[in-house]
Every structure is written in structure tokens, then in C-alpha cells.
């Protein structure tokens, strides 16, 4: 009974995290913060997988392995996302400096 409750508790926490992350993704207007919000949602999905795989004494190793795969995939995409955000900022920065230089001459 307690295992059941523990499993549901973590799975429900995961469900709330998904919703929180989605709220952040839509309302935050900076790409870096949206990237963070997606990671919160992703962690929520993983926690749902773990919670619903909670048995009487053990947690199903199958979803555990899937979650590890998911965590690695998520960090790969987050890293690329961060690189894109920085490249975008560099381009904007350079364009602004060009404008200023163009304005002076």
C-alpha cells in the first residue's frame, strides 16, 4: 500500500512538473529560460516513468534505463540549444555594432 502511494506521489509530482514547465515555456520570452522550462518538463516526464514503475520493494529497471537514455538525449539537445542562443546573440550584437558604426559615418 505504501509502495503504491509512493509511486503515485512521485508520478503526480512529475505530472505537475510537466504542467509547470509548459507554463514557463509559454510565458517566458527568453530562449534560455524556455530551454530551462523544457528541462523541467522533461524531468517531470522522467519522474512519472519512475513513479509508475515503483513496485513493492523495487523500481522497475526498464523505465530506469529509458530515463537515463532520456537524460543524456536531453542534455545533448540543451547543449546545442545553448550554443544556438549564443550564436544568435552574437549575430544580433554584431548587427547592432554595424548599425552604430553606420550611423556615425
Amino acid at each position: 500500500m505504501e509502495a503504491l502511494a509512493t509511486g503515485h506521489l512521485f508520478a503526480l509530482t512529475g505530472a505537475v512538473l510537466v504542467g509547470l514547465g509548459l507554463f514557463g515555456f509559454i510565458t517566458l520570452r527568453h530562449a534560455l529560460r524556455q530551454l530551462l522550462a523544457v528541462n523541467v518538463s522533461g524531468a517531470g516526464v522522467f519522474l512519472m516513468l519512475g513513479g509508475l514503475g515503483r513496485g513493492a520493494a523495487t523500481t522497475d529497471p526498464f523505465p530506469q534505463a529509458l530515463v537515463i537514455t532520456g537524460i543524456v538525449v536531453a542534455v545533448a539537445l540543451t547543449a546545442f540549444g545553448a550554443a544556438l542562443i549564443l550564436r544568435q546573440a552574437e549575430e544580433d550584437h554584431a548587427a547592432k555594432e554595424d548599425d552604430e558604426r553606420g550611423g556615425k559615418t
Binding site: V16, G50, L52, I68, A89
Partner: protein, 318 residues
């Protein structure tokens, strides 16, 4: 552990998650995100999933946190304060209703499913044939080795993708230096990292080795190695390599290539990725060591970012 502990833990997880999203300050949000990741790690411990707890704390909180902090610092250096334009309260209310609805739907679905260990017993009967005892490693490197193989290519692909957006003149140079600018601090961290880098190598090797039977494995070990490399780069003990350095390329592809090679070797015995009887553990450990090395290098370079023109190498590190 008791239900009360879990309940408090879940409330703290939700609180840190909310703070990481709702705080005005982006940097504060990122700090809360790291705390959130560490609490999640404790949640996984509470679920008895030590493998996931290690991965979550090392990768989910650690590497992702460093990535976000570094991106924030570099954006600030370019004059982007990482501020969000405020959204209208009406819109926030509407979005909150939608997200609340999603939470309710998900909760109803979650409560309709009773949590059980569905495949643990079946996996336990197959584990003796592999000669290893950690069932999660068994799933990752035998039963679902195909997923894991593709996943290593996602990681490698992400690094190539970061290379693809190198600015003009940046290819094939080094990433912006991470070294600390203050000379005194540089000395301290440099000395520290000269101890830490070999220690992280030993620690990574230990995690991979112990991962056959106890919690650990290639991803956790690789992340520890990445941490050692990054601290060494912070302390100026090592220089990050050029993107066209053939030794670097070899290290990056070593793990995925070893995985592919052993998988293709399985064809001679029947199927792609089937391990010959008696050699399962040896081959799995070989793949894991190669993978840990490649994952360590790949993660460290992913954090460091894209190659930049040589003149910019020095100024990007603050």
C-alpha cells in the same frame, strides 16, 4: 523511507521548480534549477533507482546547470541581460488554466494506472546470462543496446551541430577559453585541477567498472570525466583542443565506433548487437570504457561551446 519524507521532498521539488521558472532573475532561476536537479536525484534515491539518481545529479543538474550558467555569463558579457518582457496577466491566466487542465488530465491518467515493477522479474531471469548484476546496465547495454547506440550518436551529432554554427573565422579553432581571468585564482584552481583530473579519471574508471554489478556505468563515469576536464580547463591546466585535431576526433568516435564494431561483429554469430556466449561481460565492459571516454570528451566540449576565432579565445572565459 517514510511517506512523510517523500511528501516533503516532492513539495520541495515543486517549490524549486516553480522558483526556477517564476523568478524574475534568470541567474536565480538557473540556481534554483540546479537545486531542483539535486532534489530530483534524492527523489530517485528514494525510489531505489541509484543509477538514475547518479545520472540526474551529474547530468541533469550538473552538466545542464553549468551549460545554462555559462550561457548566461556569455550572454551578459554581450550585453544581453536575459530579461523576459512581461507577459500580460490575462495571457498568464489563460496559460495557467491550460497548463492546470493538462495537470488534471495527466493526474487522472496517472491515478488510473497502478504503479508496479512490471519487467524487473523478467529482466532478473535474463541477467545471469550476461554475467553482470546491475539490471539497468543490462537493459542499457544488452536488451536495449540499440537505443543506447543511437543515443551515443545523438550526443556525437550534437557536438557536430555545435561545430556547424562556428562563427566566420572560427573553424577549425578551439572553443573560447574557460580559464579564470584572475591570476591568483587561476593558480589555485590550476593546482586543484592537477589533482582532480587524474582523480576524476580514476573515479570514472571505477564507476564504469562497478557499473556492471552496482549502480554506475558509462554515462555516469563519462560525466565525472567531463567534470574533471572542465575544471582543468578552468584552471588553465589544459587547453581545449582544436576541432580538427585528429586525436580529438579519434577520442570522440572511439566509443560509438567500438559499439558499432562489436555490434557488427555480432552479425557473424547471428544478429547485429548479439554478444557471443561467454564474452557478454567482457564486451559490455569494453564498450562501456570506450563510451565513458568519448562521453567525457563530448560533454566537456559541448559545455565549452563552438569554436571561435583565435583572437576571441581569451576574452570569452569570464
Amino acid at each position: 523511507m517514510s511517506l512523510v519524507f517523500d511528501l516533503v521532498l516532492c513539495l520541495m521539488i515543486l517549490g524549486t521548480a516553480a522558483a526556477s521558472l517564476l523568478m524574475r532573475s534568470a541567474l536565480g532561476g538557473i540556481v534554483f534549477f540546479i537545486a531542483f536537479g539535486n532534489l530530483l536525484g534524492i527523489a530517485w534515491l528514494s525510489l531505489g533507482a541509484v543509477n538514475v539518481a547518479l545520472a540526474e545529479i551529474a547530468i541533469g543538474a550538473g552538466v545542464t546547470g553549468i551549460l545554462l550558467i555559462l550561457a548566461h555569463a556569455r550572454l551578459s558579457a554581450m550585453g544581453d541581460p536575459v530579461e523576459c518582457e512581461p507577459t500580460s496577466p490575462w495571457m498568464r491566466a489563460a496559460v495557467a488554466v491550460i497548463c492546470g487542465g493538462l495537470i488534471v488530465l495527466l493526474s487522472v491518467a496517472v491515478l488510473s494506472i497502478s504503479p508496479t515493477d512490471r519487467m524487473g522479474a523478467q529482466i532478473a531471469t535474463l541477467m545471469p546470462a550476461l554475467g553482470i548484476e546491475n539490471p539497468v546496465t543490462g537493459v542499457l547495454l544488452a536488451f536495449r543496446a540499440y537505443d543506447t547506440l543511437l543515443e551515443t550518436f545523438v550526443l556525437l551529432g550534437a557536438l557536430v551541430a555545435v561545430w556547424a554554427i562556428a562563427p566566420p573565422g572560427g573553424w577549425p579553432q578551439r572553443p573560447a577559453s574557460l580559464a579564470i581571468a584572475t591570476p591568483v585564482s587561476l593558480t589555485v584552481i590550476g593546482t586543484f585541477s592537477r589533482v582532480l583530473l587524474p582523480a576524476s579519471l580514476v573515479m570514472a574508471a571505477y564507476l564504469v567498472w562497478t557499473g556492471s554489478d552496482l549502480p554506475g556505468g558509462a554515462f555516469q563515469g563519462g560525466t565525472v570525466l567531463a567534470g574533471g576536464i572542465l575544471v582543468a580547463a578552468l584552471g588553465g591546466a589544459i587547453a581545449l583542443p582544436r576541432a580538427d585535431d585528429m586525436r580529438l576526433r579519434s577520442v570522440l568516435v572511439l566509443g560509438p565506433a567500438m559499439f558499432l564494431g562489436i555490434g557488427l561483429g555480432g552479425i557473424a554469430l547471428g544478429r547485429f548487437l548479439s554478444y557471443p556466449v561467454g564474452l557478454e561481460k567482457a564486451l559490455i565492459v569494453a564498450i562501456e570504457y570506450a563510451l565513458a571516454l568519448s562521453i567525457g570528451a563530448t560533454l566537456a566540449l559541448l559545455v565549452a561551446g563552438k569554436p571561435v576565432p583565435p583572437a576571441a579565445v581569451q576574452e570569452g572565459g569570464d
